[in-house]
């Protein structure tokens, strides 16, 4: 087991180097000169001297690989330079926006867990009933609904028409409900379906027959089935958490939620490359770490995985 964990952690290093290199390369492939962009957003006319001075200030006059190494070294210390727009430290900007995103993702995760477990169990118990079919219909539509449209519809119904929640911004608990609901909808569809199908499959197993023969209560039997069906959902959920955090981009923009997704999109419009780079590196780190944790958990549960990878 220890060997597996060590090997798995070592495997992260080339991946992180690859991702940082690609993100660094892409910026440098860009046709617009970062020095010119930095001047333009500060409303300085980009004369040749000004561009040259800016290039020196941003360290753009050095060769490509040297710049990459310097940048990589700085990002290891969580220093992503300063924003082109307001000259504030990028890591400060990111860290001040991160809690809002994590809060939104956490509430969405709770909604996903609560609703999909209840709906999944109910669907499996009452398999092929009208209720099951209705929920499956909703699930099917839910996976095809663009979540930005869902967000708009929810906003119109609950914020404009019924005036139950604020339309946008972050102000108290009521403001998080609509964004979190929008964010969680497609995941609820996925997990309800996963839990339902696994439970339905498990229903025909011998151990279920045995518990029934023993005359256990229906509820106890369901509990047994549920515990055996949840394994694959846990693994999938581990992979969903970084996706959930990454998926906040659209929701944050609809509901004007002050998180990192909104920060990143406004940085794209402003061509504020340090923020975009920092966002990518942060997301990559998050994804790789979550991946690692999921792999280690599933390896500790199932010895077969340890040998194959």
């Amino acid at each position: 087991m220890r060997n597996y964990i060590i090997r798995r952690i070592l495997f992260i290093i080339p991946i992180l180097i690859g991702i940082t290199f690609i993100s660094f390369l892409l910026i440098n492939l860009n046709t617009s000169d970062p020095a010119e962009v930095a001047l333009r957003v500060n409303e300085i006319t980009p004369t040749d001297e000004a561009v040259a001075a800016m290039r020196e200030e941003l360290g753009l006059d050095k060769p490509f690989f040297e710049r990459y190494i310097i940048w990589l070294g700085n990002s290891l210390r969580f220093d992503f330079g300063n924003s082109y727009i307001n000259n504030k430290s990028v890591s400060d900007e990111m860290l001040s926006a991160l809690p809002a995103t994590l809060y939104l993702a956490a509430i969405a995760l709770m909604m996903i867990l609560g609703i999909s477990i209840v709906a999944g169990i109910l669907c499996a118990i009452f398999e092929d009933s009208i209720g099951d079919k209705t929920i499956r219909g909703i699930i099917f539509v839910g996976t095809a609904m663009p979540n930005f449209w869902v967000g708009l519809l929810l906003m119109w119904l609950f914020a404009v028409k019924l005036d139950m929640f604020p339309t946008s911004g972050m102000s108290g608990f009521s403001s998080v409900i609509l964004p979190a609901a929008t964010l969680s909808l497609s995941y609820i569809s996925i997990y309800t379906r996963l839990i339902r199908n696994n439970m339905v499959q498990n229903k025909n197993e011998n151990y279920v027959l045995y518990t029934r023969v023993r005359g256990l209560k229906n509820w106890t039997v369901t509990k047994h089935i549920f515990r055996n069906s949840i394994q694959s959902s846990i693994t999938a959920l581990g992979m969903s958490i970084p996706k959930l955090i990454a998926g906040t981009v659209i929701v944050e923009n609809i509901f004007a939620w002050p998180g990192i997704g909104r920060l990143c999109v406004s940085a794209i419009f402003n061509r504020d490359y340090p923020i975009i780079q920092a966002y990518i590196v942060m997301m990559a780190l998050l994804f790789v770490v979550c991946n690692l944790i999921v792999d280690i958990i599933s390896a500790s549960l199932d010895p077969r995985i340890r040998r194959t990878t």
Binding site: N30, P146, F148, W149, K243, I280
Partner: protein, 292 residues
Amino acid sequence: MHILKKIKSDKLAGACLFFLVTIILLGVIAPVVAPNDPVETNIREKLSGISLQYPFGTDQLGRCIFSRLLYGIRTTVLMSIWTMLMTISIGTILGFVAGYFRGWIDEIIMRLCDVMLSFPSEVMILAIVGMLGPGLGNIIIANIIAKWAWYTRMIRSIVVQYMDKNYICFAKVVGSSPFHIMKNHLLPGALGEIVVLASLDTGAVILSVSALSFLGLGVQAPTPEWGMMLNEAKNIMITHPTKMLPPGIAILAVVAAFNFIGDKVRDIMDPKHMDRRVKNNEFAESGESICS
């Protein structure tokens, strides 16, 4: 193409297929069927309701929503299908090369795929659009870069299965060129499975393209695109909430149809559901492979 026949035999899947073909045709002949110019503004007629001249009413600039929807098929649906074709082509070429030659080239391509796949495609797309700047072309490039690795890996695994087959070994022995073997012996067999892969994911590409356009990162005004139409409808949500419906329903219907067909195709291809296919495979593998 027995897959197509099976889809047609399923009523709902057949209806979805018919719906999608109709939508694609409407997109192609949009200039003929659209009642109005999709980008022509007419402030006097702005936000008007349903009428004979404007079947779905007009938007905040007095443009015909129905015509914009029809032209939007071109940007939203046709561009997504095209993106899918490009991604699949790259995946097929690299997957074939990796699966056929193996060795160091396989190793390089697969490790590259590992790096690409260790990153969620949503973030990858956003990152690439962030680097290249907003625009439809950049969205397409971003989608291709973010997804090719997955297809390369899937198609490679398909190719590897075929490499042990006797007829491939025979073709190698008689000295056919690798290109000839890939084109005439590997491609016809693998094509069916490649089509399945493509059909499974087109809905997701449509959602991704329209979501980015909704954020303003994709198609630039005044080109009609469903995601962007929703973004424009968002600004007039309080006064005219019904303007959100046509583009939203359009995306929903097309994506649902693609997903449904994708699910059906997967069911058909799934060995559990395919008795005939299982028999064929057993038949093909009854003689022991002379390779390896």
